[in-house]
């Protein structure tokens, strides 16, 4: 039997129970409303495939840790791109923008001999300025973002070449910068980070739940909230456990354990941007402009300013991606941020579930989609195929991961939601 309760505005609603909540969830899934489920499913399938074919290497603690470092650039660019995509715009220049910012940092560190706490902010500021310029061109002049950022894509390639004086590589030696995407937290800090993270998540969830219940608004049953917290805790702790195993290749020579430093970096930005999008006026306005620009304009939202701001965020995140890739490679060259970086980043956001038409997407989608892309890249290289075949397989595996997603979503249109 269901019990009803009265909520805001006197609307009678069914009091949700754990059972009804789970029943509703499955009904929603059958109805095609899936959130990140399909991308996560696709990820699981991939892990299964690679895990079965290269168990000892793909599933090793070392490889697991490597995944985070390898994904850093794409995940950061993709997180920024989510904002741009939410508005139905595109930024083709994000890849090379990250290269330019990375190069700015590298040059300041080496040629100018400045310390990291000058060079890193300088790179970030470069990103912000780039975003401002792109945003203004799109919002104020009204040039389609595809064209603006295509021009920027070419221009930044040239800037990068010029910064690197026609093709030199610049190696960096700054230990702090190098540690960003190579170093690890100590085992103690790794656990500390996991515990603080889980506690923070639990607190946020419970406070929110309390707030709604106390004001007599429809809230999830406590059981579901607790289950969600438990799930996150299990994930976080088991990941930390694996990451704090000894994973040095040659244990005699060196020891390597602890959560890679990029993990807290990714988590912090994920939390910040998720908060911004879900819980602030600004985020609400981003969704509104992306969903229906005209409606947003009529509601008095400063559409142009929002449009500029997403390009700033995107280029800013690209700058961090650039810093991290330079850190990882300890060097910057004229192709940093080139190649497939951009397509992969957009792909990451889209696979995660972000719409290219605007209005639909979350930052977590970029992280999950980035994981899909990197697992494919990582797994494929472990198979040791020759180039041609590897490209073909990469394409096929990407398609397979996306099909899981598409098939899961298929019923959505059939049932009309």
């Amino acid at each position: 039997m269901t019990t009803t309760t009265e909520t805001a505005g006197g609307i009678q609603v069914v009091k949700p129970t754990v059972a009804s909540h789970i029943r509703d969830y499955f009904a929603r899934v059958r109805g095609g409303d899936l959130g990140t489920l399909p991308a996560v499913l696709g990820l699981l399938v991939l892990v299964l495939i690679f895990g079965l074919s290269r168990a000892e290497t793909f599933l090793s603690a070392l490889n697991f840790a490597n995944l985070f470092n390898q994904s850093a650039q794409i995940v950061f660019i993709a997180m920024g791109l989510v904002f741009v995509l939410l508005l139905g715009e595109i930024d083709l220049s994000a890849g090379f923008a990250s290269g330019v910012c990375g190069a700015v940092m590298a040059i300041l560190l080496t040629t100018h001999g400045l310390p990291w706490y000058v060079a890193i902010p300088a790179a970030m500021v470069t990103g912000i300025v780039i975003g401002l310029v792109l945003g203004v061109l799109v919002a104020k002049l009204g040039i389609p973002s595809f064209v603006v950022t295509l021009a920027a894509f070419l221009g930044f390639q040239g800037v990068l070449l010029t910064l690197l004086e026609g093709g030199k590589n610049i190696s960096i030696t700054d230990e702090f910068v190098k540690s960003l995407n190579n170093g690890t937290l100590s085992v103690r800090d790794s656990w500390l980070f996991a515990i603080i993270g889980v506690l923070g998540f639990a607190a946020a969830q419970l406070i929110r739940w309390r707030g709604r219940v106390s004001r007599n608004l429809v809230a999830e049953p406590l059981g579901i909230v607790v289950a969600r917290i438990a799930g996150v805790a299990v994930l976080a702790f088991s990941a930390t456990y694996v990451l704090t195993l000894e994973r040095a290749v040659n244990k005699a020579i060196t020891s390597l354990k602890g959560t890679p430093i990029v993990v807290p970096l990714i988590v912090v930005f994920l939390v910040i941007w998720t908060f911004v999008l879900a819980r602030t006026t600004y985020g609400r306005h981003v969704y509104a402009v992306g969903g229906n620009t005209e409606a947003a304009r009529r509601a008095g939202i400063p559409v142009d300013r929002i449009r500029i701001s997403v390009f700033v965020i995107c280029s800013f995140m690209a700058s961090i991606g650039g810093i991290l890739v330079v850190s990882r490679q300890s060097s910057v060259d004229p192709n940093t941020g080139g190649s497939n970086i951009l397509l992969y980043s957009v792909g990451a956001a889209v696979i995660g579930g972000t719409s290219l038409f605007g209005g639909k997407g979350k930052v977590i989608y970029a992280v999950i989609g980035g994981a899909v892309i990197i697992v494919i890249e990582n797994g494929m290289t472990l198979l040791g195929l020759n180039s041609g075949v590897k490209f073909i397989f990469t394409g096929l595996v990407l398609l397979a991961a996306a099909s899981v997603d598409a098939l899961a979503r298929r019923r959505a249109s059939a049932t009309g939601s």
Binding site: E56, T57, G166, N169, V249, S330, G338, G384
Partner: protein, 345 residues
């Protein structure tokens, strides 16, 4: 679930004592050699020695390069052979390998400051010098007076292209300075893209109709330039250089459209590298690395095997065939049968 570092090798044959070797090749764009020649020869060499090898190509992507390296290190290789995409990434990989206790070999390209254990290579600057000298010879043969020489360089983002250019500049620039040659257009071809190369050369010719010699950085770009010259019936009249001794390049040479190419006996290079790697994998001290090269950055000496590239003109195309680098069937198709006979193949 995967704590053992032992590869689980249970056999007792000769190979059991040898560890696995990882090889990372750079790309498929700067030259056809990586995917066609090196891969084949290295695979054969390792197979012959019964050593397990994992050979991969980074597709010109540095991120992928490091990803592959991570994967190889994770899979427990004992020797890592790399052709770096740039010294920075190369160095990062070499350092990681070293901390993991893996022996390293720089193949074809020296990683500056990387401190690899060994170095096997053709000298890229030397390749450029041969190209420059080849062009000079062809121009002299054509008795060109104050010829305008155009440069069709490789990808601006490829460090090798810079090295090649250093090589041919060292031969030709003095001629410019002396006023013997006239400096013509000088442009890079992004990604070594042949189609773009063709367009760029077409524009050079539109811009300067007097171009009398083309220094093209490899056979693909050479062919692109030759097609433009053909359209203007200037093929054969304007010498064009190349590199890699590809079938296409050799055919152009036989047809008289290309002046020379540079042949790098890749099999020798591959065999030398494989030999080193196999020795290291078996934990022996290799004896073949007799020369040394000084790392310009650290001033450290790296034990090396150095091989000499060879300049190929119509006169010695047959050497390449004799070497088995290209087969007669590939080269001497119907259109070129006559020229082949003439060249003594």
């Amino acid at each position: 679930a995967c704590g053992t570092d032992d590869g689980g090798d249970t056999g007792t044959g000769t190979s059991s004592s040898a560890g696995k070797v990882g090889v990372i090749l750079p790309d498929t764009k700067s030259s056809a050699r990586w995917a066609t020649a090196d891969l084949k020869y290295l695979t054969e060499a390792f197979k012959a020695a019964g050593v397990e090898a994992d050979i991969q190509n980074a597709e010109g992507d540095k991120t992928r390069f490091t990803t592959i390296a991570d994967g190889m290190i994770a899979s427990g290789v004992k020797v890592l052979v790399i052709v770096n995409l740039d010294s920075g990434t190369g160095k990062a990989v070499l350092e990681k390998a070293k901390t993991a206790g893996i022996a390293t070999i720089d193949y074809d390209r020296l990683t500056l400051g990387g401190g690899a254990n060994y170095y096997v290579s053709f000298d890229n600057t030397e390749v450029g010098k041969l190209q420059g000298q080849g062009l000079v010879d062809c121009l002299t043969e054509k008795k060109a007076a104050k010829p305008v020489v155009a440069y069709l360089n490789g990808s601006p983002t490829d460090n090798n292209a810079t090295l090649f250019k250093q090589g041919y500049d060292s031969v030709i620039k003095p001629k410019f300075d002396a006023g013997d040659y006239v400096k013509g257009p000088d442009q890079d071809v992004p990604d070594w893209d042949n189609a773009q190369g063709g367009t760029i050369f077409e524009q050079m010719l539109t811009q300067n109709k007097a171009i009398a010699g083309v220094l093209a950085a490899n056979d693909g770009l050479g062919n692109a330039a030759i097609q433009v010259l053909k359209r203007n019936k200037l093929n054969g009249k304007v010498p064009v250089t190349g590199q890699d001794a590809t079938v296409q390049g050799l055919q152009n040479i036989l047809a008289g459209d290309q002046c020379m190419t540079v042949y790098k006996a890749i099999k020798k290079e591959a065999d030398a590298a494989a030999e080193l790697a196999i020795a290291l994998a078996k934990q022996e001290t290799p004896s073949t690395a007799t020369k040394t090269v000084v790392d310009p950055e650290t001033k450290a000496e790296v034990k090396s095997v150095l091989l000499a590239p060879q300049s190929i003109t119509a006169a010695n195309v047959k050497d390449v065939v004799a070497d088995g680098f290209v087969t007669k069937e590939e080269l001497c198709t119907a259109d070129f049968a006559e020229a082949c006979t003439k060249a003594g193949i």
